[in-house]
Amino acid sequence: MNRALHAEWTKLRTVAGTGPLLLLAVVLTVAMGAALAATLTCPWGRCAQDSVKLTFSGLPVSQACVALLAVLAVGGEYGTGMIGTTLTAIPRRGRVLAAKAAVVAGLTAVAGTVAVLASALAGRLILPGRGYPALSLADGPTLRAAAGSVLYLALVALLGVGIAMAVRDPAASIAAVLGLLYLFPLLAHMVSDPGWHRVLWSLAPMNAGLAVQTTVNVASLPIPPWAGLGVLAAWSAAALLAGGLLLRARDAS
Protein backbone atom coordinates (compact mmCIF):
# COMPACT_ATOMS: atom_id res chain seq x y z
CA MET A 1 0.00 0.00 0.00
CA ASN A 2 2.86 2.40 0.81
CA ARG A 3 4.34 1.75 -2.61
CA ALA A 4 1.02 2.40 -4.30
CA LEU A 5 0.75 5.68 -2.37
CA HIS A 6 4.31 6.61 -3.31
CA ALA A 7 3.61 5.87 -6.98
CA GLU A 8 0.35 7.86 -6.99
CA TRP A 9 2.06 10.75 -5.26
CA THR A 10 4.87 10.75 -7.85
CA LYS A 11 2.24 10.63 -10.60
CA LEU A 12 0.22 13.51 -9.20
CA ARG A 13 3.20 15.78 -8.60
CA THR A 14 4.76 15.17 -12.03
CA VAL A 15 1.70 15.86 -14.14
CA ALA A 16 1.13 19.40 -15.37
CA GLY A 17 -1.95 20.99 -13.91
CA THR A 18 -1.78 19.82 -10.29
CA GLY A 19 0.13 22.87 -9.04
CA PRO A 20 -1.79 25.49 -11.02
CA LEU A 21 -5.17 23.97 -10.10
CA LEU A 22 -4.40 23.87 -6.38
CA LEU A 23 -3.00 27.39 -6.50
CA LEU A 24 -6.13 28.57 -8.31
CA ALA A 25 -8.30 26.85 -5.70
CA VAL A 26 -6.47 28.65 -2.89
CA VAL A 27 -6.55 32.04 -4.65
CA LEU A 28 -10.26 31.72 -5.52
CA THR A 29 -11.18 30.70 -1.97
CA VAL A 30 -9.34 33.60 -0.38
CA ALA A 31 -10.24 36.23 -3.00
CA MET A 32 -13.96 35.40 -3.10
CA GLY A 33 -14.21 35.25 0.67
CA ALA A 34 -12.33 38.50 1.16
CA ALA A 35 -14.35 40.28 -1.54
CA LEU A 36 -17.66 39.22 -0.03
CA ALA A 37 -16.52 39.98 3.51
CA ALA A 38 -15.55 43.46 2.32
CA THR A 39 -19.10 44.09 1.04
CA LEU A 40 -20.74 42.91 4.25
CA THR A 41 -23.31 45.30 5.71
CA CYS A 42 -25.41 45.55 8.82
CA PRO A 43 -28.96 45.82 7.44
CA TRP A 44 -31.40 47.72 9.65
CA GLY A 45 -28.61 48.41 12.11
CA ARG A 46 -28.31 44.75 13.08
CA CYS A 47 -25.01 43.03 12.32
CA ALA A 48 -26.73 39.67 12.12
CA GLN A 49 -25.35 38.24 8.87
CA ASP A 50 -23.30 35.07 8.94
CA SER A 51 -19.91 36.74 8.63
CA VAL A 52 -18.01 33.47 9.13
CA LYS A 53 -19.87 31.66 6.35
CA LEU A 54 -19.33 34.65 4.09
CA THR A 55 -15.60 34.67 4.82
CA PHE A 56 -15.39 31.06 3.67
CA SER A 57 -17.79 31.55 0.75
CA GLY A 58 -15.06 31.06 -1.87
CA LEU A 59 -15.58 27.32 -1.57
CA PRO A 60 -18.57 27.03 -3.92
CA VAL A 61 -16.28 28.36 -6.66
CA SER A 62 -12.93 26.86 -5.72
CA GLN A 63 -14.45 23.40 -5.34
CA ALA A 64 -14.61 23.30 -9.15
CA CYS A 65 -10.77 23.35 -9.25
CA VAL A 66 -10.60 20.53 -6.72
CA ALA A 67 -13.17 18.52 -8.67
CA LEU A 68 -11.17 19.01 -11.86
CA LEU A 69 -7.95 17.95 -10.13
CA ALA A 70 -9.60 14.78 -8.87
CA VAL A 71 -11.23 13.96 -12.19
CA LEU A 72 -7.99 14.51 -14.11
CA ALA A 73 -6.06 12.30 -11.69
CA VAL A 74 -8.27 9.41 -12.83
CA GLY A 75 -9.65 10.51 -16.20
CA GLY A 76 -6.21 11.55 -17.43
CA GLU A 77 -5.17 7.90 -17.21
CA TYR A 78 -8.27 6.62 -18.97
CA GLY A 79 -7.99 9.29 -21.66
CA THR A 80 -4.47 8.17 -22.57
CA GLY A 81 -4.78 4.46 -21.86
CA MET A 82 -2.13 4.74 -19.13
CA ILE A 83 -4.55 3.06 -16.71
CA GLY A 84 -3.34 -0.21 -18.27
CA THR A 85 0.22 0.54 -17.15
CA THR A 86 -1.01 1.50 -13.69
CA LEU A 87 -3.00 -1.70 -13.25
CA THR A 88 -0.04 -3.72 -14.55
CA ALA A 89 2.20 -2.15 -11.92
CA ILE A 90 -0.41 -2.44 -9.15
CA PRO A 91 -2.75 -5.30 -10.06
CA ARG A 92 -4.91 -4.98 -6.94
CA ARG A 93 -7.81 -2.75 -8.01
CA GLY A 94 -8.83 -1.72 -4.53
CA ARG A 95 -5.29 -0.66 -3.75
CA VAL A 96 -5.08 1.56 -6.84
CA LEU A 97 -8.34 3.29 -5.97
CA ALA A 98 -7.47 3.69 -2.29
CA ALA A 99 -4.03 5.10 -3.06
CA LYS A 100 -5.37 7.51 -5.65
CA ALA A 101 -8.19 8.67 -3.39
CA ALA A 102 -5.85 9.11 -0.43
CA VAL A 103 -3.24 11.09 -2.37
CA VAL A 104 -5.74 13.37 -4.11
CA ALA A 105 -7.78 13.98 -0.96
CA GLY A 106 -4.66 14.46 1.15
CA LEU A 107 -3.15 17.00 -1.22
CA THR A 108 -6.52 18.77 -1.42
CA ALA A 109 -6.75 18.87 2.36
CA VAL A 110 -3.30 20.50 2.54
CA ALA A 111 -4.26 23.13 -0.04
CA GLY A 112 -7.65 23.51 1.64
CA THR A 113 -6.00 24.15 5.01
CA VAL A 114 -3.82 26.85 3.48
CA ALA A 115 -6.85 28.41 1.77
CA VAL A 116 -9.05 28.31 4.87
CA LEU A 117 -6.35 29.71 7.16
CA ALA A 118 -5.65 32.51 4.69
CA SER A 119 -9.39 33.24 4.46
CA ALA A 120 -9.65 33.27 8.24
CA LEU A 121 -6.78 35.73 8.39
CA ALA A 122 -8.52 37.91 5.79
CA GLY A 123 -11.73 37.70 7.83
CA ARG A 124 -9.81 38.71 10.93
CA LEU A 125 -8.50 41.80 9.17
CA ILE A 126 -11.59 42.81 7.19
CA LEU A 127 -14.59 42.05 9.41
CA PRO A 128 -13.99 44.61 12.20
CA GLY A 129 -14.11 47.35 9.55
CA ARG A 130 -17.60 46.18 8.56
CA GLY A 131 -19.04 46.24 12.05
CA TYR A 132 -18.55 42.54 12.80
CA PRO A 133 -16.28 40.97 15.38
CA ALA A 134 -12.87 39.82 14.13
CA LEU A 135 -12.99 36.20 13.07
CA SER A 136 -11.36 33.96 15.67
CA LEU A 137 -10.69 30.25 15.40
CA ALA A 138 -10.92 30.01 19.17
CA ASP A 139 -14.67 30.39 18.77
CA GLY A 140 -16.35 26.96 18.63
CA PRO A 141 -18.71 27.40 15.68
CA THR A 142 -16.02 29.30 13.75
CA LEU A 143 -13.52 26.49 14.28
CA ARG A 144 -16.18 24.02 13.14
CA ALA A 145 -16.79 26.09 10.02
CA ALA A 146 -13.05 26.27 9.25
CA ALA A 147 -12.29 22.59 9.87
CA GLY A 148 -15.49 21.61 8.09
CA SER A 149 -14.49 23.67 5.05
CA VAL A 150 -11.19 21.78 4.76
CA LEU A 151 -13.03 18.46 5.07
CA TYR A 152 -15.59 19.66 2.53
CA LEU A 153 -12.90 20.19 -0.10
CA ALA A 154 -11.32 16.82 0.64
CA LEU A 155 -14.72 15.12 0.32
CA VAL A 156 -15.34 16.88 -3.00
CA ALA A 157 -11.98 15.49 -4.17
CA LEU A 158 -13.07 11.98 -3.14
CA LEU A 159 -16.39 12.47 -4.94
CA GLY A 160 -14.46 13.44 -8.07
CA VAL A 161 -12.15 10.40 -7.85
CA GLY A 162 -15.08 8.02 -7.37
CA ILE A 163 -17.20 9.44 -10.19
CA ALA A 164 -14.25 9.60 -12.60
CA MET A 165 -13.41 5.97 -11.80
CA ALA A 166 -16.99 4.96 -12.58
CA VAL A 167 -17.52 7.17 -15.66
CA ARG A 168 -13.92 6.98 -17.03
CA ASP A 169 -14.29 9.66 -19.74
CA PRO A 170 -12.78 12.84 -18.26
CA ALA A 171 -15.23 15.23 -19.97
CA ALA A 172 -18.30 13.27 -18.94
CA SER A 173 -16.88 12.81 -15.42
CA ILE A 174 -16.23 16.47 -14.75
CA ALA A 175 -19.66 17.33 -16.12
CA ALA A 176 -21.23 14.77 -13.82
CA VAL A 177 -19.38 16.09 -10.76
CA LEU A 178 -20.12 19.75 -11.49
CA GLY A 179 -23.73 18.91 -12.36
CA LEU A 180 -24.14 17.08 -9.05
CA LEU A 181 -22.59 19.95 -7.10
CA TYR A 182 -24.17 22.94 -8.82
CA LEU A 183 -27.40 21.67 -10.35
CA PHE A 184 -28.70 19.33 -7.65
CA PRO A 185 -29.56 22.34 -5.44
CA LEU A 186 -31.70 23.63 -8.31
CA LEU A 187 -33.90 20.57 -7.97
CA ALA A 188 -34.78 21.83 -4.51
CA HIS A 189 -35.69 25.21 -5.94
CA MET A 190 -37.82 23.58 -8.64
CA VAL A 191 -40.32 22.14 -6.17
CA SER A 192 -42.33 24.42 -3.96
CA ASP A 193 -43.73 21.87 -1.49
CA PRO A 194 -41.89 22.63 1.76
CA GLY A 195 -41.38 18.98 2.71
CA TRP A 196 -39.87 18.01 -0.61
CA HIS A 197 -37.90 21.23 -0.70
CA ARG A 198 -36.19 20.44 2.60
CA VAL A 199 -35.51 16.84 1.61
CA LEU A 200 -33.99 17.78 -1.73
CA TRP A 201 -32.06 20.64 -0.14
CA SER A 202 -30.61 18.30 2.47
CA LEU A 203 -29.70 15.70 -0.17
CA ALA A 204 -27.83 18.15 -2.40
CA PRO A 205 -24.14 17.52 -1.71
CA MET A 206 -23.12 21.18 -1.97
CA ASN A 207 -25.95 22.59 0.17
CA ALA A 208 -25.71 19.90 2.81
CA GLY A 209 -21.92 19.90 2.90
CA LEU A 210 -21.65 23.66 3.22
CA ALA A 211 -24.12 23.65 6.11
CA VAL A 212 -21.00 23.01 8.20
CA GLN A 213 -20.01 26.66 7.58
CA THR A 214 -23.16 28.08 9.16
CA THR A 215 -22.63 29.90 12.46
CA VAL A 216 -25.79 32.01 12.64
CA ASN A 217 -29.33 30.64 12.96
CA VAL A 218 -28.04 27.06 12.92
CA ALA A 219 -31.41 25.85 14.15
CA SER A 220 -33.14 27.04 10.99
CA LEU A 221 -30.99 24.82 8.75
CA PRO A 222 -32.87 21.86 7.25
CA ILE A 223 -29.96 19.67 8.44
CA PRO A 224 -27.47 20.17 11.30
CA PRO A 225 -23.93 21.20 10.27
CA TRP A 226 -22.04 17.95 10.85
CA ALA A 227 -24.94 15.84 9.58
CA GLY A 228 -24.81 17.96 6.41
CA LEU A 229 -21.14 17.17 5.95
CA GLY A 230 -22.12 13.56 6.56
CA VAL A 231 -24.49 13.73 3.58
CA LEU A 232 -21.61 14.84 1.37
CA ALA A 233 -19.43 12.09 2.86
CA ALA A 234 -22.15 9.59 1.98
CA TRP A 235 -22.18 10.83 -1.61
CA SER A 236 -18.38 10.54 -1.77
CA ALA A 237 -18.43 7.06 -0.24
CA ALA A 238 -21.12 5.94 -2.68
CA ALA A 239 -19.12 7.32 -5.60
CA LEU A 240 -15.92 5.59 -4.43
CA LEU A 241 -17.80 2.35 -3.89
CA ALA A 242 -19.34 2.51 -7.36
CA GLY A 243 -15.95 3.40 -8.86
CA GLY A 244 -14.25 0.56 -6.98
CA LEU A 245 -16.84 -2.04 -7.91
CA LEU A 246 -16.79 -1.03 -11.56
CA LEU A 247 -12.97 -0.98 -11.59
CA ARG A 248 -12.99 -4.53 -10.27
CA ALA A 249 -15.75 -5.78 -12.55
CA ARG A 250 -14.74 -4.19 -15.83
CA ASP A 251 -11.80 -4.81 -18.10
CA ALA A 252 -9.18 -2.10 -17.86
CA SER A 253 -9.18 0.64 -20.54
Partner: protein, 307 residues
Protein backbone atom coordinates in the same frame (compact mmCIF):
# COMPACT_ATOMS: atom_id res chain seq x y z
CA UNK B 1 9.87 -18.27 -9.27
CA UNK B 2 9.71 -20.22 -12.46
CA UNK B 3 10.08 -18.06 -15.54
CA UNK B 4 7.07 -19.16 -17.55
CA UNK B 5 3.77 -18.01 -18.90
CA UNK B 6 0.97 -20.54 -19.09
CA UNK B 7 -2.26 -19.87 -20.87
CA UNK B 8 -5.01 -22.47 -20.69
CA UNK B 9 -8.28 -22.52 -22.57
CA UNK B 10 -8.91 -18.78 -22.64
CA UNK B 11 -12.26 -17.70 -24.03
CA UNK B 12 -13.56 -14.16 -24.27
CA UNK B 13 -16.26 -12.39 -26.23
CA UNK B 14 -16.77 -8.67 -26.79
CA UNK B 15 -20.44 -8.46 -27.60
CA UNK B 16 -20.93 -10.68 -30.64
CA UNK B 17 -17.24 -10.78 -31.50
CA UNK B 18 -15.33 -13.82 -30.28
CA UNK B 19 -11.89 -12.53 -29.32
CA UNK B 20 -10.48 -15.65 -27.69
CA UNK B 21 -11.70 -19.14 -28.47
CA UNK B 22 -9.76 -21.60 -26.36
CA UNK B 23 -6.30 -20.02 -26.53
CA UNK B 24 -3.77 -22.38 -24.94
CA UNK B 25 0.05 -22.22 -24.94
CA UNK B 26 3.10 -22.13 -22.72
CA UNK B 27 6.09 -19.82 -22.92
CA UNK B 28 9.22 -21.58 -21.71
CA UNK B 29 12.23 -19.84 -20.19
CA UNK B 30 15.50 -19.36 -22.03
CA UNK B 31 14.20 -18.55 -25.47
CA UNK B 32 12.31 -15.93 -27.40
CA UNK B 33 8.80 -17.09 -28.18
CA UNK B 34 7.20 -15.33 -31.11
CA UNK B 35 3.46 -14.79 -30.84
CA UNK B 36 2.28 -14.28 -34.36
CA UNK B 37 -0.98 -14.10 -36.18
CA UNK B 38 -2.96 -11.72 -38.35
CA UNK B 39 -4.67 -8.65 -36.93
CA UNK B 40 -7.62 -9.65 -34.82
CA UNK B 41 -6.23 -13.09 -33.99
CA UNK B 42 -6.43 -12.31 -30.27
CA UNK B 43 -2.76 -11.63 -29.49
CA UNK B 44 -3.25 -8.35 -27.64
CA UNK B 45 -6.32 -9.60 -25.78
CA UNK B 46 -4.35 -12.65 -24.64
CA UNK B 47 -1.56 -10.42 -23.34
CA UNK B 48 -4.09 -8.20 -21.54
CA UNK B 49 -5.63 -11.28 -19.94
CA UNK B 50 -2.16 -12.50 -18.85
CA UNK B 51 -1.60 -9.11 -17.17
CA UNK B 52 -4.98 -9.23 -15.45
CA UNK B 53 -6.24 -6.19 -17.36
CA UNK B 54 -9.09 -8.07 -19.02
CA UNK B 55 -10.96 -10.89 -17.33
CA UNK B 56 -11.48 -14.01 -19.48
CA UNK B 57 -14.94 -15.57 -19.69
CA UNK B 58 -13.28 -18.98 -19.29
CA UNK B 59 -9.80 -20.40 -18.79
CA UNK B 60 -6.84 -19.00 -16.92
CA UNK B 61 -3.47 -17.41 -17.41
CA UNK B 62 -0.62 -17.98 -14.98
CA UNK B 63 2.70 -16.22 -14.72
CA UNK B 64 5.33 -18.34 -12.96
CA UNK B 65 2.50 -20.55 -11.78
CA UNK B 66 0.34 -17.82 -10.18
CA UNK B 67 -2.32 -15.41 -11.49
CA UNK B 68 -0.86 -11.98 -12.27
CA UNK B 69 -3.31 -10.16 -10.01
CA UNK B 70 -1.94 -11.94 -6.95
CA UNK B 71 1.64 -10.73 -7.51
CA UNK B 72 2.98 -8.34 -4.86
CA UNK B 73 5.69 -6.65 -6.93
CA UNK B 74 4.48 -7.58 -10.39
CA UNK B 75 7.01 -5.58 -12.37
CA UNK B 76 9.87 -7.53 -10.79
CA UNK B 77 8.21 -10.73 -12.08
CA UNK B 78 6.84 -9.69 -15.44
CA UNK B 79 7.84 -6.75 -17.61
CA UNK B 80 5.35 -5.80 -20.26
CA UNK B 81 5.03 -3.39 -23.13
CA UNK B 82 1.46 -3.19 -24.36
CA UNK B 83 0.62 0.26 -25.77
CA UNK B 84 3.63 2.52 -26.00
CA UNK B 85 1.36 5.49 -26.66
CA UNK B 86 -0.35 5.14 -23.28
CA UNK B 87 1.44 8.08 -21.67
CA UNK B 88 0.20 11.28 -20.16
CA UNK B 89 1.68 13.89 -22.49
CA UNK B 90 2.54 16.46 -19.84
CA UNK B 91 4.77 14.13 -17.81
CA UNK B 92 8.43 13.56 -18.73
CA UNK B 93 9.56 10.09 -19.71
CA UNK B 94 11.80 9.89 -16.65
CA UNK B 95 8.95 10.83 -14.32
CA UNK B 96 6.80 8.18 -15.96
CA UNK B 97 9.44 5.58 -15.12
CA UNK B 98 9.84 7.09 -11.66
CA UNK B 99 6.25 6.54 -10.57
CA UNK B 100 6.40 3.00 -11.94
CA UNK B 101 9.61 2.44 -9.95
CA UNK B 102 8.01 3.82 -6.80
CA UNK B 103 5.06 1.46 -7.22
CA UNK B 104 7.52 -1.45 -6.98
CA UNK B 105 9.62 -0.01 -4.19
CA UNK B 106 12.46 0.81 -6.60
CA UNK B 107 14.42 4.05 -6.65
CA UNK B 108 15.54 6.70 -9.09
CA UNK B 109 18.90 4.98 -9.59
CA UNK B 110 17.24 2.01 -11.31
CA UNK B 111 15.25 4.45 -13.48
CA UNK B 112 18.41 6.11 -14.76
CA UNK B 113 19.92 2.66 -15.32
CA UNK B 114 17.12 1.51 -17.66
CA UNK B 115 17.08 4.89 -19.40
CA UNK B 116 20.71 4.28 -20.27
CA UNK B 117 19.96 0.67 -21.23
CA UNK B 118 17.39 1.64 -23.88
CA UNK B 119 19.45 4.58 -25.10
CA UNK B 120 16.88 7.26 -24.25
CA UNK B 121 19.50 9.52 -22.61
CA UNK B 122 18.62 13.20 -22.27
CA UNK B 123 15.31 12.73 -24.09
CA UNK B 124 13.94 11.20 -20.91
CA UNK B 125 13.78 14.62 -19.27
CA UNK B 126 11.49 16.01 -21.99
CA UNK B 127 7.68 15.83 -21.94
CA UNK B 128 6.41 12.57 -23.32
CA UNK B 129 3.87 14.39 -25.47
CA UNK B 130 6.65 15.35 -27.88
CA UNK B 131 8.10 11.86 -28.30
CA UNK B 132 8.32 10.14 -31.67
CA UNK B 133 6.87 6.65 -32.03
CA UNK B 134 10.36 5.16 -31.72
CA UNK B 135 11.12 7.09 -28.54
CA UNK B 136 7.85 5.91 -27.03
CA UNK B 137 8.74 2.30 -27.87
CA UNK B 138 12.10 2.71 -26.16
CA UNK B 139 10.41 4.25 -23.11
CA UNK B 140 7.92 1.37 -23.06
CA UNK B 141 10.76 -1.17 -23.22
CA UNK B 142 12.54 0.68 -20.43
CA UNK B 143 9.38 0.35 -18.33
CA UNK B 144 9.26 -3.38 -19.07
CA UNK B 145 12.91 -3.82 -18.00
CA UNK B 146 12.52 -1.65 -14.89
CA UNK B 147 11.98 -4.47 -12.42
CA UNK B 148 14.60 -6.76 -14.04
CA UNK B 149 11.86 -9.39 -14.45
CA UNK B 150 12.39 -13.06 -15.38
CA UNK B 151 9.42 -12.88 -17.74
CA UNK B 152 9.04 -10.30 -20.51
CA UNK B 153 6.05 -9.72 -22.70
CA UNK B 154 6.22 -7.23 -25.56
CA UNK B 155 3.31 -6.42 -27.86
CA UNK B 156 4.50 -5.35 -31.31
CA UNK B 157 7.80 -3.89 -30.08
CA UNK B 158 9.08 -3.30 -33.63
CA UNK B 159 6.32 -0.80 -34.46
CA UNK B 160 7.73 2.58 -35.35
CA UNK B 161 11.36 1.59 -34.91
CA UNK B 162 13.91 2.49 -37.57
CA UNK B 163 16.17 -0.27 -38.99
CA UNK B 164 18.85 0.50 -36.36
CA UNK B 165 16.22 0.18 -33.66
CA UNK B 166 14.99 -3.14 -35.05
CA UNK B 167 18.51 -4.55 -35.05
CA UNK B 168 19.00 -3.25 -31.48
CA UNK B 169 15.83 -4.81 -30.18
CA UNK B 170 16.52 -8.16 -31.82
CA UNK B 171 19.89 -8.26 -30.09
CA UNK B 172 18.30 -7.20 -26.81
CA UNK B 173 15.64 -9.90 -27.01
CA UNK B 174 18.20 -12.61 -27.76
CA UNK B 175 20.44 -11.57 -24.89
CA UNK B 176 17.49 -11.39 -22.47
CA UNK B 177 16.49 -14.94 -23.46
CA UNK B 178 20.10 -16.08 -23.18
CA UNK B 179 20.04 -14.95 -19.55
CA UNK B 180 17.32 -17.54 -18.96
CA UNK B 181 14.26 -15.31 -19.15
CA UNK B 182 11.01 -16.22 -20.81
CA UNK B 183 10.37 -13.71 -23.57
CA UNK B 184 7.05 -13.47 -25.42
CA UNK B 185 7.06 -11.13 -28.40
CA UNK B 186 4.01 -10.56 -30.54
CA UNK B 187 4.06 -9.43 -34.12
CA UNK B 188 1.82 -9.57 -37.11
CA UNK B 189 4.82 -9.70 -39.43
CA UNK B 190 6.72 -12.97 -39.29
CA UNK B 191 9.75 -11.43 -41.01
CA UNK B 192 10.41 -9.25 -37.96
CA UNK B 193 10.89 -12.34 -35.83
CA UNK B 194 13.04 -14.28 -38.29
CA UNK B 195 16.37 -15.05 -36.70
CA UNK B 196 15.16 -13.97 -33.25
CA UNK B 197 12.41 -16.31 -32.15
CA UNK B 198 13.21 -19.90 -31.33
CA UNK B 199 9.67 -20.94 -30.65
CA UNK B 200 6.53 -19.77 -32.42
CA UNK B 201 2.95 -19.62 -31.25
CA UNK B 202 0.78 -18.93 -34.26
CA UNK B 203 -2.67 -17.56 -33.44
CA UNK B 204 -5.71 -17.30 -35.65
CA UNK B 205 -9.33 -16.55 -34.83
CA UNK B 206 -8.72 -16.57 -31.10
CA UNK B 207 -6.92 -19.91 -30.79
CA UNK B 208 -3.50 -21.42 -31.37
CA UNK B 209 -3.04 -22.68 -34.91
CA UNK B 210 0.49 -23.94 -34.40
CA UNK B 211 2.91 -24.09 -31.50
CA UNK B 212 6.35 -25.38 -32.46
CA UNK B 213 10.00 -24.55 -32.96
CA UNK B 214 10.91 -22.41 -35.92
CA UNK B 215 12.80 -25.29 -37.60
CA UNK B 216 9.86 -27.66 -37.19
CA UNK B 217 7.47 -25.13 -38.57
CA UNK B 218 9.50 -24.65 -41.72
CA UNK B 219 9.91 -28.35 -42.05
CA UNK B 220 6.18 -28.87 -41.82
CA UNK B 221 5.41 -26.22 -44.33
CA UNK B 222 7.90 -27.61 -46.83
CA UNK B 223 5.90 -30.88 -47.11
CA UNK B 224 9.15 -32.72 -48.15
CA UNK B 225 8.75 -31.76 -51.74
CA UNK B 226 11.76 -32.74 -53.85
CA UNK B 227 12.40 -31.57 -57.40
CA UNK B 228 14.48 -33.88 -59.59
CA UNK B 229 16.13 -32.84 -62.86
CA UNK B 230 16.61 -35.90 -65.01
CA UNK B 231 16.89 -37.00 -68.60
CA UNK B 232 15.04 -40.23 -67.79
CA UNK B 233 11.80 -38.75 -66.61
CA UNK B 234 9.51 -41.79 -66.87
CA UNK B 235 11.98 -44.14 -65.16
CA UNK B 236 12.41 -41.75 -62.33
CA UNK B 237 8.65 -41.49 -61.91
CA UNK B 238 8.22 -45.25 -61.93
CA UNK B 239 10.96 -45.76 -59.37
CA UNK B 240 9.70 -43.09 -56.99
CA UNK B 241 6.03 -44.01 -57.37
CA UNK B 242 6.97 -47.59 -56.67
CA UNK B 243 8.44 -46.43 -53.35
CA UNK B 244 5.17 -44.73 -52.39
CA UNK B 245 5.86 -41.14 -53.39
CA UNK B 246 3.39 -38.92 -55.18
CA UNK B 247 5.06 -37.81 -58.37
CA UNK B 248 4.14 -35.04 -60.76
CA UNK B 249 5.70 -33.75 -63.96
CA UNK B 250 6.59 -30.12 -63.54
CA UNK B 251 8.67 -29.47 -66.70
CA UNK B 252 10.40 -30.95 -69.74
CA UNK B 253 13.11 -32.56 -67.65
CA UNK B 254 11.83 -32.13 -64.08
CA UNK B 255 9.56 -34.11 -61.81
CA UNK B 256 8.45 -33.34 -58.28
CA UNK B 257 8.08 -35.99 -55.63
CA UNK B 258 6.24 -35.56 -52.39
CA UNK B 259 6.58 -38.02 -49.59
CA UNK B 260 10.05 -39.28 -48.93
CA UNK B 261 12.71 -36.83 -47.86
CA UNK B 262 15.52 -35.76 -50.24
CA UNK B 263 18.05 -38.27 -48.86
CA UNK B 264 15.65 -41.18 -49.48
CA UNK B 265 14.96 -39.91 -53.02
CA UNK B 266 18.68 -39.88 -53.82
CA UNK B 267 18.98 -43.34 -52.35
CA UNK B 268 16.08 -44.67 -54.45
CA UNK B 269 17.27 -43.10 -57.69
CA UNK B 270 20.83 -44.27 -57.20
CA UNK B 271 19.63 -47.74 -56.28
CA UNK B 272 17.39 -47.90 -59.36
CA UNK B 273 20.18 -46.61 -61.61
CA UNK B 274 18.21 -43.62 -62.74
CA UNK B 275 20.44 -40.81 -63.95
CA UNK B 276 19.76 -37.37 -62.51
CA UNK B 277 21.60 -34.10 -62.60
CA UNK B 278 20.04 -32.30 -59.67
CA UNK B 279 17.92 -33.02 -56.57
CA UNK B 280 16.49 -29.97 -54.85
CA UNK B 281 14.80 -30.24 -51.50
CA UNK B 282 12.26 -27.47 -51.26
CA UNK B 283 12.46 -25.44 -48.04
CA UNK B 284 9.68 -22.98 -47.23
CA UNK B 285 10.61 -19.56 -45.82
CA UNK B 286 9.24 -18.69 -42.40
CA UNK B 287 6.93 -16.24 -44.11
CA UNK B 288 5.56 -18.92 -46.45
CA UNK B 289 5.07 -21.33 -43.58
CA UNK B 290 3.23 -18.68 -41.66
CA UNK B 291 1.04 -17.72 -44.61
CA UNK B 292 0.08 -21.33 -45.13
CA UNK B 293 -0.81 -21.80 -41.49
CA UNK B 294 -2.86 -18.70 -41.19
CA UNK B 295 -4.55 -18.89 -44.56
CA UNK B 296 -7.81 -20.00 -42.99
CA UNK B 297 -7.42 -17.80 -39.99
CA UNK B 298 -7.25 -14.46 -41.74
CA UNK B 299 -10.42 -12.58 -41.01
CA UNK B 300 -9.90 -9.52 -43.13
CA UNK B 301 -8.79 -10.36 -46.63
CA UNK B 302 -7.51 -7.63 -48.86
CA UNK B 303 -9.79 -8.75 -51.68
CA UNK B 304 -12.82 -8.46 -49.47
CA UNK B 305 -13.90 -12.01 -50.25
CA UNK B 306 -14.20 -12.90 -46.61
CA UNK B 307 -17.96 -12.61 -46.69
Amino acid sequence: MEATIEVTGLRKRFGRTVALDGMTFRVPPGRVTGFVGPNGAGKSTTMRVILGLDAPDEGRALVGGVPYRSLEEPLTRVGALLDAGALQPSRTGRDHLLWLAHSQGLGAARVDEVIGLVGLGGTARRRAGGYSLGMRQRLGIAAALLGDPPVLMLDEPFNGLDPDGIVWIRGLLRSLAAEGRAVLVSSHLMSELEGTAGQLVVAGRGRVVADMGVAELIEAASHDRVTIRTTARSRAMETLAGAGATVAVTGGDTVTASGPPAERVVELLTGGGVPFSEVTAHRATLEEAYMELTRDAVEFRADGAGR
